[in-house]
Symmetry: C2
DNA sequence: AAATAACTAGACCGACCTGTATACTTCTGC
DNA sequence: GCAGAAGTATACAGGTCGGTCTAGTTATTT
């Protein structure tokens, strides 16, 4: 195995950063939790910020993969029109994630909150994830005929983010239910071939 | 004046916390910026967390007042149905705030991100603000006949939060435009007496 | 005018932070 | 089997953190 320690460090850091925040989580805690020497960390990463970005990149891939997989699994159980099933299933996948045991909001929204400067590499990494999330939403709308697809993608992205924030900030895990309803309303409004 | 220093400290802290984050902003920087002695800070506040909460409470009042005022001002220029004008004006007020010079997201979303534990006093203060925000949205819907008002309030609240997050995390200030469109779609869908 | 409250300036504390250096050990590829 | 990479353990540097303390100064109130 090339560098299992590197992977172990990222996994440990991810759990701690997500649960407690980036600035609140010290290097020493990560090292103690992972059982790894400090020298090893700085062998694989140039700085804490570098570790944060690597953590965000892994989280990005894992979360998108999870949402994609869960969405596909949930498409068949949708009761709506076939072409809308993928995007509706996406909101169910979102609900599963949000109501799962370990949910502390979106790591990327949290990251951009802790590193507010728009030119900060960490902030930019968070932005990158949100762009990929929008691409995922767009990919689930390929079969849907919309009067303005770009606009609908933006609207659904906003609704998804709002649901995540609502669930975390207000500790109300049922926000995805309302997000799905809002998404349906948007799709009804802009779908050219919609049948209730 | 009872305690101008206390007000000065809160004002200074608010600007710095908002721009740079809570944990990233040290007590010493606030004191230097405000030109106030450390002893004075700990005369008015028991701890940094106490100052943070006082800051959040002031911010809560100021932001809600600003949004209420701006909403009232923007009601007359709405082109939609009269009864929907208040809530539509709210999304324009949101847009004015988001596109204003100094915007670093929602201080309460950021706060709950930095203090993720749901029982943390700071997290709870952020939650409180979001509840008041929902009350504001609800108050703008009094004249609107809706099939399920509670549900619509939640949906609009989610859309508003999504717009704020989108503007900050993705650095795209036009998110409120799409939020307003989504809000219109939701209202169209649930409004009993809607006419386009 | 006296007393009390609010304030300044700055030293200081212990804890914690990121990151580096030293010295040694284990693993791994050729 | 040996060289080099990757690892451990730990001390340490240099700084910042929140918070306390002392001592003296200004304001306010009665």
């Amino acid at each position: 195995m090339a560098s299992s320690k590197r992977a172990l460090l990222i996994d440990t850091a991810q759990a701690l950063f997500y649960k407690n925040g980036f600035r609140a989580t010290g290097i020493d805690l990560i090292l103690a939790e992972a059982g790894v020497a400090k020298k090893t960390l700085y062998h694989h990463f140039t700085s804490k910020d570098d570790l944060i970005i690597a953590t965000l990149m892994q989280r990005d891939q894992q979360l998108l993969l999870r949402l994609k997989t869960d969405t596909q699994r949930l498409i068949p159980v949708q009761t709506c029109q076939t072409k809308l099933a993928p995007i509706m299933a996406f909101f169910d996948a979102l609900a599963e994630w949000i109501t799962s045991e370990q949910f502390f909001g979106c790591m990327f929204i949290n990251g951009s909150a802790e590193y507010p400067r728009h030119d900060d590499p960490i902030h930019l990494a968070c932005r990158e994830h949100k762009l990929l999330m929008m691409q995922l939403i767009e990919s689930l709308l390929v079969e849907v005929e919309l009067s303005d697809k770009k606009s609908v993608v933006r609207q659904l992205s906003i609704i998804a983010d709002g649901a995540i924030v609502g669930a975390h900030t207000m500790s109300e895990s049922d926000s995805t239910r309302f997000a799905k309803i809002a998404a349906q309303a948007v799709l009804t409004h802009f779908c050219l071939n919609y049948t209730q």
